[in-house]
């Protein structure tokens, strides 16, 4: 993909924390989209050529959920479709539509109404292979326990390194208005928390939150007409490894490696460890942040724990990793999580991150993972 062809010209957030009985998903979508349109200066009924929404039926509790998206987005009687995938995959769809030259402005929406799901683990159970994995009848997070053990053993990082990720992210989130699971927490708290699937502990797991998110993408031809500060998407990649847990790469996730290779190649990035000031990467479980850092080349194998200790991934470090607080601090937002990470990078590159602003942020990377039990992820490189 040639550089600087597609830009993010606006984003909108409707944050409702861990519980949102006062608002429906439609109201959250309306609020997020309205804010994004306002920031981008676009009229959805006139300026937007296509709408992409990201959702899964089971998360919504409604079959064929795409029926319920158009009106509150201003997308009625317009080209609108759903990606049953992560928000970054939705962004990829929007980027490709713009690159065809048939679309100039594309809106991508994703939301999480996770608080409506009374039994999240039970839901994930339905995402397991009905013949091979589901009959084990274990809580699906057992897969994370296995993977964490495998990663720590092979990479040489320690359990305490993963705990440090929790401390960093939950503390970072104190500075972020979206940080609903933020906490002034100490290393001992994490290490002393209840084991769930050893070596995984309760505080290693991100909790869920509710949010509505929207971004407006524009082609190079029109981006500067709408805004003076476009953030360019210079690379985007996505990939799925095997759905069967026993047949996938456990320690170094292929979805992250191959997605990053694709995005870096488009963006012309040869040395990722020096290319970014900001990284918002999946931390659904504490060890995942370290695993992803090493897999996509932000640190060498086995070094992420050490660098974390040195403060290299802090807000003032070499690469600020999850300065937003990530999923550990702001919550996992179902398939909106990827869009959340992208928006956090955009905030940094636009200088709008407030108390957790990273200095001189010119380039950033977002990495998403669709979570247990999938092996699907995406990587997006953004620059100003």
């Amino acid at each position: 993909m040639p550089r600087k062809k597609v830009a993010v010209i606006g984003y909108g957030i409707a944050s409702y924390g861990a519980l949102s009985p006062e608002v429906s998903y439609k109201e959250m979508m309306y609020e997020a989209c309205s804010r994004a349109y306002q920031m981008a200066g676009v009229n959805p009924r006139k300026d937007v050529d296509s709408f992409v929404t990201c959702s899964e039926d089971y998360d919504e509790g409604t079959s064929i959920f795409d029926e319920y998206v158009p009106d509150q987005m201003g997308a009625m009687l317009r080209p609108t479709h759903t990606i049953a995938g992560d928000g970054l995959q939705g962004v990829a769809a929007g980027v490709m539509q713009i690159l065809t030259k048939r679309f100039d402005v594309v809106v991508v929406e994703a939301h999480s109404k996770a608080s409506n799901v009374t039994d999240h683990a039970g839901l994930l159970h339905f995402a397991e292979d009905p013949a091979f994995t589901r009959p084990i009848l274990a809580h699906p997070y057992f897969l994370a326990g296995l993977e964490m053990r495998c990663f720590l053993t092979l990479s040489g990082n320690m359990e305490i390194d993963a705990a440090k990720v929790v401390v960093k992210n939950k503390n970072n989130a104190l500075k972020n208005p979206l940080g609903v699971h933020s906490a002034n927490i100490a290393l001992e708290d994490v290490l002393a928390s209840e084991p769930s699937f050893e070596p995984l502990k309760k505080l290693d797991e991100a909790r869920l939150s509710d949010i509505g998110l929207c971004v407006v993408l524009a082609s190079e031809d029109v981006a500067n007409k709408f805004v003076s500060n476009p953030v360019w998407i210079t690379g985007i990649g996505w990939c799925s490894d095997s759905f069967q847990p026993e047949r996938r790469e456990l320690c170094w996730p292929a979805y992250a490696k191959l997605s990053a290779d694709m995005a870096y190649q488009q963006a012309g990035i040869k040395n990722p460890a020096r290319a970014f000031q900001v990284a918002e990467i999946d931390d659904t479980f504490s060890y995942k942040e370290l695993q992803h850092i090493e897999t996509i080349g932000l640190a060498r194998v086995g070094e992420s724990g050490e660098k974390l200790e040195e403060g290299a991934f802090g807000i003032d470090g070499e690469i600020a990793v999850n300065a937003s607080g990530g999923s550990l601090g702001c919550g996992r937002m179902l398939d909106a999580t990827g869009l959340f990470r992208l928006i956090e990078v955009v905030k940094q590159l636009r200088g709008e991150a407030g108390a957790y602003q990273v200095k001189n942020a010119r380039a950033g990377v977002a990495l998403s993972w669709r979570g247990i039990p999938t092996a699907t992820g995406a990587v997006c490189v953004l620059e100003v």
Binding site: E56, D57, A75, M76, P79, I83, A84, Q89, A127
Partner: protein, 387 residues
């Protein structure tokens, strides 16, 4: 025109059936394998995969796209599942189109599959959950009710008789006799349709397509590489999709305006100004017999209310001037939701290449249109193909 012109270079399909022994992954595999073989390709030559399957509730598998990924050839490739309910089967080809037309990929495997039979006692149960939580679900309504409303409205506005509509069912089920993938090909009469059981008046059993398991796949290639794989590429010259309001109760059901908007989007891209002259063959979506007529009007292939008349004149027969659903359509071939739309695109591919065998239409065809429809009488997806 788009950045890159995109061609279909191969197609594959499984037999559509009531209850397949195979899983959705296996069905996807068979269709994908056949499509690759017909293009003379191996999976290594595929750079990305676009997949679609309709509601997860059929199989009871959350994130069903993930489950189907390796069966559809998506292992360690850029793989995305797109989704617009019943319109998915044609949309997923549009989705594959933008992946290639963007210049990001040279080749794309498009796979659509559906396994409805896992849903017990009947897949219709899964549709109970498509309705609005507050206003509609408490009524316990199902799809037949709302389509009965739509059919009735269409018949009332244009003064159409059930006999006229039944001709579509007769035509399509007979066309399907020549389709080796067909689930319920049959030689029936208009009287058979009228005598069949009333399910939700005016919808009779023989007005409706069956529930099915099956898969279909296509291989797409950019203009830069298409000629490497075939001498007879079929070009995707127009794509369109459009989603109408959720509140179906607030609109007049006699005409699918969202199909019209999707068609105009596709025709504009293909440079078609007079669809009735410039389009030679069509696969409008026909889950119910009246829907074929409804969609012909939405596709601007005839005036509003005229579709039953041109059907009566035999214009839409295989030897007519505007053959519709030469495959046998959903009424004859079957309706594994997402796969059925892709089947329609595959049929147009075979017809344009002159490879449809006993189903080959009489007239010379250069431009074809295929269309699907879905959600709460809400989404239209359209594709224009040229040889």
């Amino acid at each position: 025109m788009s950045l890159k012109r995109v061609a279909i270079v191969g197609a594959g399909i499984t037999k559509f059936m009531r209850r397949a022994q195979e899983t959705g992954r296996e069905l996807s595999y068979y269709a994908a394998k056949m499509a690759l073989k017909s293009a003379g390709m191996t999976l290594d030559e595929i750079q990305c995969v676009a997949e679609s399957t309709a509601p997860d509730a059929f199989d009871g598998i959350h994130m069903n796209g993930e489950y189907l990924s390796d069966g559809a050839g998506g292992w360690r490739k850029p793989y995305i599942r797109s989704y617009v309910g019943g319109g998915s089967g044609v949309f997923v080809v549009n989705h594959g189109w933008y992946q290639v037309a963007s210049g990001m990929f040279d080749t794309c495997l498009v796979v659509a599959s559906e396994k409805m039979s896992s849903c017990h006692p009947h897949p219709q149960g899964a549709f109970l959950n498509i309705f609005d939580n507050f206003i509609e679900r408490p009524l316990g309504c199902n799809l037949l009710w709302i389509f009965a409303l739509e059919m009735n409205r269409y018949m009332t506005v244009h003064k159409i008789s059930h006999e006229q509509i039944a001709l579509v069912s007769v035509k399509n089920k007979r066309n399907a006799l020549d389709n080796p993938a067909a689930q319920i090909p049959e030689k029936i009469t208009v009287q058979d349709v009228l005598n069949s059981e009333v399910l939700a008046w005016p919808v009779h059993r023989l007005d409706i397509s069956p529930t099915s398991d099956g898969a279909a796949a296509l291989v797409l290639a950019s203009e830069d590489v298409a000629h490497k794989y075939t001498d007879k590429p079929v070009w995707i010259d127009g794509v369109g999709w459009n989603l109408d309001t959720t509140y179906w109760t607030n609109k007049d059901l006699y005409y699918p305006r969202y199909v019209e908007k999707a068609a105009i989007m596709a025709y504009k891209m293909a440079g078609i100004t007079d669809p009735r002259r410039e389009i030679h063959i069509a696969e409008p979506y026909d889950p119910f017999d009246y829907k074929e007529l409804h969609h012909m009007e939405g596709l601007l292939l005839c005036d509003k209310g005229e579709a039953p008349k041109i059907t009566e004149k035999g214009i839409t027969q295989r030897d007519g001037a505007m053959p519709t659903c030469p495959s046998g359509g959903l009424l004859g071939v079957g309706n594994p939701i997402a796969a059925s739309g892709t089947m329609k695109v595959a049929e147009m591919f075979w017809q344009l290449r002159g490879e449809a065998g006993a189903r080959q239409v009489t007239r010379e065809c250069k431009t074809a249109v295929a269309q699907a429809w879905g959600d709460l009488m809400q989404v239209g997806t359209v594709i224009v193909l040229r040889k």
